[in-house]
Each structure stands twice: as structure tokens, then as C-alpha cells.
Symmetry: C2
Subunit: 327 residues, 2 copies
């Protein structure tokens, strides 16, 4: 049922080559006046509109930015990237770009998808999410000098990991949470996070630990770790509560929900990411400015695309605390 | 920092026109053998890959499917479309298409965005979400014979609303929920839904009402309505509980969460959409097969794109009940 008018239709009806149609639109000075006028009449008559394909042929720009979309696990943490994606789509549109989606189960599949996309849709740039230690995607893109921005800082001290990135200061978020709990009078503030080794998780733990240290408190024995699941939050909280902890800072809303399930009303709990679940159950949680992060990504990309030097700029945004009844 | 090789680079290095490069790739029979061999050598040497733009110029197909992404409100119901979007991206990739995102605050902005996209990226097709009574988007697309599929059935009896659509049978979902509650011995089963007039909401209410009728029960006075928010679920549940209701079927997880907040442990509550929040709080909820729905949309679109007749096929999928501790 496609009845879109293509450049081929215009060429056929006008009795000229497609190149002449293209020249009429893009380089009118090389087309004879009479031909040009005739082609423009046919364009008008058929309702043809110079399209992105023609513009891309001319400029070498697709005006597409590609990003991965994830299945979202239990869907609690997944909502963070969904909100980021919405912001990115809006900011990109304002800058004259559109968002192209792809899925990839792991880094190597994602690199294969980069190659596939570059050979077909030719996105002008990529937005990487879920950066981690030894991220092979960044080195792959850097080696090929392909424009990209990471939402998430480079977690490895790689000498060549110089690329634009945008991130939210997770440690500042858990610091704010810990300060609030100390100000409320709690003296044994525990932390429930992920197993050591993840950049994001270690950073969130560090904010809690350094705040206790600044208050002359010993963090020793007050931290537990587990994969990001409600059940792990429950068992870690049980363990810490048995040790006399009265308040809990958690690396995610999933872990915090588990803590809430086993904590009595006097125990304060703070989550991380301010997901819809946090709003639904009254959980105080660290909020990331995802719309701002998305806008910053588009801004850095637009700069990278208009520059001949590899840009190394980065933006570290500050989170805030959304206070509800849990703390 | 873009160093992508374009058709212009190949033409310059080879000393031929871009049209000759294009012909070499797409219509080699019209290019002299020596020229063709020379251009192919330059293509090899520069690492140029025939790209989507060239293919689009040739075929009139962009291999792009456009869909709107929403802000998601309280984020609870939003997760449904996010899961659908992930499935759509995967199914589209398997069929050789990629997903292009846009945002639009209302129907008329969305139509303006259709025009903008058609004049630039030229998506091959659109996927509409959030269909409703008197949906002007469908008539706009139908009038222009543009290929699209709606995730959501046409709710108006418009004579021209003949287009492919995929939906999940919401009434069958609330029917299954109501049957379960009746089988558990409940005799006063209430319904909390949205204000009358929304196709989706009325359909979900109808499934509950017809199941009570089938069991010879009177639904009169057992239904309450409010906008989709936790607080409205709370007040509606309070009201129905005061009327002796012992079980509640809700049109959304947001309303069901409100009901759970005010219901005692003996009151059974069923939500709709099986969102992450439902999993987190142990809410029994109607589950929509979103991956299947996305795959069906891609299948109908692929058929529409390869046919000259406007297809009117539709797919109505059956939901299931995800049983947790609330009912």
C-alpha cells in the first residue's frame, strides 16, 4: 500500500535521470534553467519531498543517533533507562536528530550491531549505556574514531578512555541519604549494595562510607552485598538489623524494597533511583536528573559531530533526595 | 571527528560522478567494465560500504518503523509500553527493520510529527499506540494510504477504520480475575476502573460485569471510577469495602495498589498489567503478552509493506493471570 513518491518517480515522469532530479534540488546551478523548472513542476505535481536519503547522500549525515534498549530485568531498575530514553528522544529532536533503537544481549553482540548499523543506517553517533570496568565497546568506538557519548563514566583507568560522557554522581546521592539519616539521630547506619567490582555499585557504597568517616564513625561490619533483587535486600536487612542497625542506605530501590519488607516502622530505609515502585510504597530514594542527563548527552554529541578533534568533555550531574515516609 | 567514507569521497578519489559510483553498486550493467573495476577498487581501498541512504534512494524503502515514546506518567503504567517497545525493537530487527523514536504530547502534534518524519527520514510505516475513540491519527494515515499498525483496536465505529491492529483482550483478563475471586468463595466482588468513555477502561469493566451476570449476580453499585492514580484506588476501595465488598478487580496496578493500601489481609485484590510494582508488592495482576503483541505488529506491517491492497487483518491476544499473594 506504499504510494510514497520517490526520486525515481520524479525522474520517470520528468523524463530525466535521478541525478538531474537530485541536482535540481541540491546543486541547481549545474542544471539548465528550463530543465530545472520542468523538474520542479513535476516535483510539485507529484508531491515529492526531498527526503532524508537524498540529504544523507549529499551531506554524509543520517541525523540518526543509535542507542540500545534493554529488557529491564525485574523492571524496577529498567525504568531509569526508559526515562533517560524519553529525554533523549526529546532533546535529540530539538537538535535535529532522531533516535534509532537496537537490542544486544552483551558487549560483543553490541559491537556486531555497531558494524551492522554503520554498514546500513549509518548513524551519526552512538549513546552508550551501562558502562563498566574494561568496557570493550568504548575502545572499539575510539579506535574507529566514531562519535559517541557514554551515559555513565569510564570506570577503568584506560589511557585511551578519553571520550565524552555524562553521569550522575552516585556517591553524592548516598552521601545525602546518609547525612539525612545521621541528622535524624540514627547512629548505626548500614549499607546494602551489590558485590564489589561494579563501578556504579562501588561508587554508591563509597558515598555512604565516607560520610560515616566524616562523622567519626566506623563503617566496619555495617555493609552487606548481593545481586540486585528484592530477596537479597530482605536477607541483608535481616542480618544488619540483628546487628543493631536502625537505618539503611541501599544501592537500589529493589534492595530497599526488600529491606522495607523486613524492617519495622522504626527502621529508616533509603533507596536509589526513585523508581515508580518507590513512589508506590512511600520509599525515600535518591533521584537522578535523567532529563538533564539526556540533554547533556545530545549537547556533547552535537559538539563532537561539529568538531574535528576528539572531544573529551564530560558532565557530572548532582542527584537529589526524594523524601517519602520511609526515611 | 566523523571519518565515515561517503559516496562523495569515493567519487572524488575515483574521479567519477556520484551517480557512477551509485550505478556501479546498484546498476553495474550500465557502467563501462573498466570504470566499474576502477570504482570497485576505490570502494575497496577506502572501505566504503553501500549504505542505507543509497539503498533507500534505490528502493524507496528506509527500513525504518516509527513509534512514539511516552513520558510514562507515574511510571507504573508506562512500563507496559516500554516492554512493548523492547519487543518491537527485537522483532523489527529480525525482519530487517529498525525502530525510530519520536515524542508527541497529543494527537495533533503527533500528526505534525508524521508529516515531519515523512518529509525527512521517510519511515516505511508507523506503529500507533494509545488508540482511543475518534482517533484522528488513524483517519489521517488511512486517507494518505500510509502503512501503519495500531497496538490497540479502533474504538470508534468509523466506516473507514479498516487497518491492521493488534490488541490484548482486556475484558478476558478481568473476566479471568473475577472468575478466580468467585471460585475462592467471594460473593461481593467490586470493580475499580476509570471514568466511562475510554475504550480500554470500558472494556475491562465489561469483563468483570459480564462474569458477575453469568453467575447470576448483580453488579449494581459495586463499581467505582477515578483517574489512574493510587489515591483514587484508595478512596474507591474504602467506599466499596464499606458496602461489604470482600474482593476487588482493578483496571490498573496503580488503582490496585491504592486498594491494597486500605484493604485488610482478608480482602482479595487483582490488578491489571503485571507491572514491576505488582511483583514488588505481591499483587496478583492480569498479564499482557507484550512480546507476542510486538511480534504480531511487525508481522502485520511486513505484510502491509509487501501488499498493494490495504490490509485489514487484526490480532486479538489473550492475557493471563499472574497469581501472587494478594488474591
Amino acid at each position: 500500500m506504499a504510494d510514497k513518491v520517490t526520486i525515481t518517480d520524479v525522474a520517470r515522469v520528468a523524463g530525466v535521470s535521478r541525478q538531474t532530479v537530485s541536482n535540481t534540488l541540491n546543486s541547481p546551478e549545474v542544471v539548465r534553467e528550463a530543465t530545472r523548472r520542468h523538474v520542479l513542476e513535476v516535483i510539485e505535481q507529484l508531491g515529492y519531498r526531498a527526503n532524508q536519503a537524498a540529504r544523507q547522500m549529499r551531506t554524509g549525515r543520517s541525523r540518526l543517533i543509535a542507542i540500545r534498549i534493554d529488557p529491564g530485568g525485574d523492571g524496577i531498575a529498567g525504568s531509569v533507562l526508559d526515562r533517560f530514553l524519553h529525554g533523549l528522544t526529546e532533546s535529540a529532536a530539538q537538535a535535529g536528530y532522531r533516535i534509532l533503537l537496537y537490542t544486544a544481549p552483551d558487549d560483543h553482540s553490541e559491537i556486531a550491531t555497531f558494524e551492522d548499523l554503520l554498514g546500513s543506517y549509518e548513524p551519526d553517533a552512538f549513546v552508550l549505556t551501562g558502562t563498566h570496568h574494561g568496557d570493550v565497546r568504548t575502545s572499539w568506538l575510539l579506535e574507529r574514531r566514531l562519535p559517541f557519548v557514554a551515559f555513565g563514566r569510564p570506570w577503568s583507568e584506560m589511557p585511551d578512555a578519553r571520550h565524552p560522557w555524562v553521569d550522575v554522581d552516585g556517591a553524592a546521592g548516598t552521601e545525602a541519604a546518609t547525612r539525612r539519616l545521621l541528622a535524624a539521630g540514627h547512629r548505626r547506619v548500614g549499607f546494602i549494595g551489590w558485590p564489589p567490582g561494579s563501578g556504579v555499585g562501588d561508587d554508591r557504597r563509597a558515598g555512604w562510607a565516607r560520610t560515616l568517616a566524616e562523622h567519626g564513625m566506623d563503617a566496619g561490619g555495617l555493609s552487606r552485598a548481593g545481586e540486585d533483587a528484592i530477596a537479597n535486600g530482605e536477607s541483608a536487612a535481616r542480618d544488619l538489623l540483628a546487628d543493631g542497625v536502625t537505618a539503611l542506605v541501599c544501592a537500589s530501590d529493589s534492595l530497599a524494597l526488600g529491606a522495607l519488607n523486613v524492617a519495622g516502622p522504626d527502621v529508616a530505609v533509603v533507596g536509589f533511583d526513585d523508581t515508580p515502585v518507590a513512589g508506590a510504597v512511600g520509599l525515600t530514594s535518591v533521584h537522578q536528573p535523567l532529563g538533564q542527563a539526556a540533554a547533556a548527552c545530545v549537547k556533547l554529541l552535537a559538539r563532537a559531530l561539529d568538531s574535528t578533534e576528539p572531544p573529551t568533555t564530560h558532565v557530572l550531574l548532582q542527584p537529589s533526595l526524594t523524601v517519602r515516609r520511609s526515611a
